[in-house]
Every structure is written in structure tokens, then in C-alpha cells.
Symmetry: C2
Subunit: 143 residues, 2 copies
DNA sequence: GTTTTTCATAGTATAACAGTATGTTGGTAT
DNA sequence: ATACCAACATACTGTTATACTATGAAAAAC
């Protein structure tokens, strides 16, 4: 499993913020209820997003979280990499890891590199805006 | 991490067999030594490959394992799926899992489906033959 | 100064990973 | 026949990650 609940929940939180905030702070309790995810667990997830400047927190009454950037400025691949640490499909494709001692005789390295690239290309091609429900497309507008 | 040592080692074993066997049985001990992997651990991996008809085992002296099919008939994606159980990047993309109860309101499903497809397309586009060192390409031929 | 919300730290049950250990079965060579 | 060899089978183990829960401190609004 490449993506754990951390990455999946993070995307849902960001989409929720993009869909519900009008430059207002939203409290985690609301998001947790809408998304049916434990608020306490979400705290640990959102903390990571704050640390990486994806969202901004404000304490106290009327506080909460909001996106630090516009939804179309938030890259999905970057978010997933923050939450999962890495999206490398194998250990030898993680930048932090020192090169494999068998690299000289390895028959599979290029195969893994290609898979790594495919995953990165795909995930990096989406923004949070791409994942929000298009307002005009399916909103039943009624006066 | 999408791929564990099970999947990585399985590919190395199959490549080793493809490169060293001339329709002969190779004993695990030799593969384990060449690949510098615990023979005992490899046993558990090869057992899976036998069960799935990727390799064939023969007991006793002169016995060992060999590929059940030609290297270019063995699909890398299939091998990885056998070893890892699934290559789905998220739980909701596993065929065996029952559909997510939030599917109606899920904003991320199509994103995950796309990632799942990208991984499957890539891994299914390789055979073991693609991963073996091409004999003619870089062998220093000397009389 | 009380309420509200984020922020911070610590703990916990479960499962998967990456093996190890011991023994059995079935072929081969002598 | 029997000694040997290598696959086959089952059970166990240490470590790490996952997916949380619990308790409390800090700051902002009222």
C-alpha cells in the first residue's frame, strides 16, 4: 500500500477546506464530522500540513484552519510526499537513502526508476482544485 | 512503500534464473549466494512462485528451480501482484475490498483510479526478459 | 477569566515485514 | 538399500509502521 490514511485523509481535509472556506477559518471539528474521521487523528495530520505551510492555523474562538494558498496552487503530489515521507515504490528510489551497494549489477534499477517517475508524474499533475467538485458543473442553482 | 522485499527479491530470483539456467534446474543456494539474500527467506518467496506456476521445483540431488515459462512470457506486474497481494496504491482500489461507503461523495476516487491504472499499465508493460542483461549488447566476446 | 480552538507530547493495540529455526518429503547417486 | 541432497512445510520472533487515543498547555475571542 503506497498511500496510508495519512495521505488520503490529508487530501480529504484540503478538499473540504477548498470547498467550504471562503477565506474563513474552519475548525477541525467541522471537517472531522463532515468527513467522518476522528478529530484527534486529524490533528496529527493537519499539524504536518501546518508545518509545511500548506494550511494555516489560528487558535481560539473563531479560529481553525484555512488553506495557505489557492487550491490550484496546492500540488497533490507534494501533499502526499509530505504525509507519506516519500512516494517511492521501493527503498532504493528514496532520495534520502544511500545508494544500493549492488547498483553496478542491478537489473531492476531502471525498472524501479521508471515506476517512480510514473507515480511522480501522475501525482504531480493534479492540484487540490482538480479534486474539488466543479461548482458550475453539478450545483443545482436555485434562487 | 508499494513494493516490499518479497516483490523485489522475487524479480531478482526470476532474472537470475533467466540468466543462468539453460533449461536446467538451479538450486536456491546458488541464487541466494549470487543475490546475497538469505536462502531461507528466499524459500518462502519461491514457494509463492511455485504455487502460481511461475517457477517449477524439483527435489533431490540435481534438483532446484527453473522458470515454468520463457522469460518473455513472464509478466512483471503479475509477479509483483502475486508477491504483494495487490499493487493498489490505496485500499479502495483493491478488487477484493468491498466498495467504500462514501463512494457517492468521494472527490478522490477518480484520482486514485488513475494512479492505480498508471501503476498497472507500467508494471504490466515489462516481462522478465526485459529485465535481463541483453547478451549481445554488452558482453565482451572473446575467442 | 472563561470558553474555544489549536498545538504538543505520550501512549497503545494491531498488523505487516523480514527474517530464523526445525523438521519432513521426495528424488538421485552410490 | 541407504546415504545424500534439495525442495517443501510449519512455527516462531524481533522490529517497525499504522491508526489511532489520552492528557494537557497555549493562545485568541468574548
Amino acid at each position: 500500500m503506497l498511500i496510508s490514511t495519512k495521505g488520503r485523509y490529508a487530501l480529504r481535509v484540503l478538499i473540504d477546506m477548498a470547498e467550504h472556506s471562503g477565506s474563513e477559518y474552519i475548525k477541525l471539528k467541522d471537517i472531522a464530522e463532515r468527513q467522518e474521521i476522528s478529530e484527534k487523528y486529524l490533528e496529527s495530520i493537519v499539524k504536518q500540513l501546518v508545518k509545511n505551510k500548506i494550511v494555516t492555523g489560528l487558535r481560539g474562538k473563531g479560529g481553525g484552519y484555512k488553506l495557505s494558498k489557492a487550491p490550484d496552487e496546492i500540488n497533490v503530489g507534494e501533499v502526499l510526499r509530505i504525509m507519506e515521507g516519500s512516494l517511492a515504490p521501493v527503498a532504493c528510489m528514496e532520495e534520502t537513502n544511500l545508494p544500493c551497494p549492488r547498483v553496478g549489477e542491478c537489473r531492476t534499477r531502471e525498472f524501479w526508476r521508471g515506476l517512480n517517475d510514473a507515480i511522480r508524474r501522475y501525482t504531480d499533475s493534479f492540484t487540490i482544485a482538480d479534486l474539488t467538485r466543479s461548482y458550475s458543473a453539478d450545483y443545482d442553482y436555485v434562487i
